[in-house]
């Protein structure tokens, strides 16, 4: 009895178009309403913003956005250009924000004596900005306590 009920549910769902293919024509990909063979128009190249004051954060634990250009800054196994300004040793002389304590914590929660390997590649989490329209409208609002 149970089986028959389930089957009939599936069949009705199929009839009313609840299968994924029925929705396909309403889904719009970010590259526009184009068939696979067509090429979308290439967006214009955006320029990174000039240096600015730090950008306010919208939620707790947000990796702060990079408020300056980072062209040509290399992060190699031998030297990390970001840390030449943001490390605890250098931040004062360069007038930069120092990396926070979380950057010293290893995957297993141990506190290390220098930036942890999982936080070494800064641009994994921190990104520079361009002035551009958002691809998808977003009405996210910070919670009361973080509004500015």
């Amino acid at each position: 009895m149970k089986k028959i009920f389930l089957m009939s549910m599936v069949i009705t769902a199929g009839m009313f178009g609840l299968n994924p293919y029925a929705f396909a024509e309403h889904v719009q990909s970010l590259r526009g309403d184009l068939s696979l063979e067509e090429n979308s128009v290439a967006p214009t190249l955006k320029q990174y913003q000039k240096d600015e004051a730090p950008i306010a954060r919208d939620y707790l634990q947000q990796p702060p956005l990079i408020p300056h250009k980072i062209d040509g800054y290399r992060v190699t196994i031998k030297h990390n250009k970001c840390l030449s300004c943001h490390s605890w040793t250098n931040y004062k002389a360069r007038g930069a924000t120092k990396i926070s304590q979380t950057h010293f914590e290893s995957r297993d929660g141990a506190i290390m004596s220098n930036v942890a390997p999982r936080r070494y590649f800064c641009s994994q989490c921190h990104v520079p900005q361009v002035k551009a329209k958002e691809l998808i409208a977003n009405d996210f609002e910070p919670v009361e306590a973080m509004r500015h």
Partner: protein, 186 residues
């Protein structure tokens, strides 16, 4: 021929030979003062040159380039000669194969970089200043971090290389110089 005439012709011939040698000397000097010459050996072409091609002094908005000798060979004649004489030591090491693999080059790199840092610190980054003059810098059009650092830095007697290490190449293992800017290891 009288003695006077002989000494006069010796003088003239000597002068002509002198001019030829001087010309040839300066010509060679100029020939060895090109990027083409600098990267004619693979030690430079496969290491520093490829890295430099990624940087602002190779490709930029305005298309003005700084080539190897612009940064590494002084323009003033006397300093240039001194640098060229030092370069004969480099020929010796070329023959020895001191840096003929990437690994050997990397192992030597800190030492080589330090030579340049010391040289530039001592001459107040003269080669940078051949093109960049801090008196002519237009602060309003520079970035916020640049202005802050330039105003403070120049007032404290700092020079370009104090802050702009690694403008043209990858930096060596910097552990000894700034242990806070490397991956935790050693």
């Amino acid at each position: 021929m009288s003695k006077k005439k002989i000494s006069l012709s010796v003088l003239i011939i000597g002068f002509i030979i002198g001019v030829i040698f001087w010309g040839a000397f300066n010509w060679t000097l100029e020939l060895t003062n090109t990027e083409q010459f600098c990267i004619s050996c693979h030690e430079m072409r496969d290491n520093v040159y490829v890295e430099y091609k990624d940087t602002i002094h190779y490709a930029n908005r305005t298309g003005v380039r700084a080539t190897c000798p612009d940064c590494h060979v002084p323009r003033e004649w006397i300093y240039k000669i001194r640098r060229k004489i030092q370069a004969s030591n480099e020929l010796y090491h070329k023959a020895l194969g001191t840096i003929d693999t990437r690994e050997k080059f990397e192992a030597k790199r800190l030492e080589l970089a330090r030579h340049e840092w010391v040289r530039m610190k001592e001459n107040d980054s003269r080669e940078c200043r051949n093109c960049h003059n801090y008196d002519d810098m237009d602060y309003p059009s520079q970035g916020r971090r640049a202005v802050d650092n330039h105003v403070k830095g120049f007032a404290n007697g700092e020079t370009c290389i104090d802050c702009h290490k690694g403008v043209a190449h990858e930096l060596p293992d910097m552990f000894e110089d700034d242990a806070s800017a490397v991956l935790l290891k050693h």
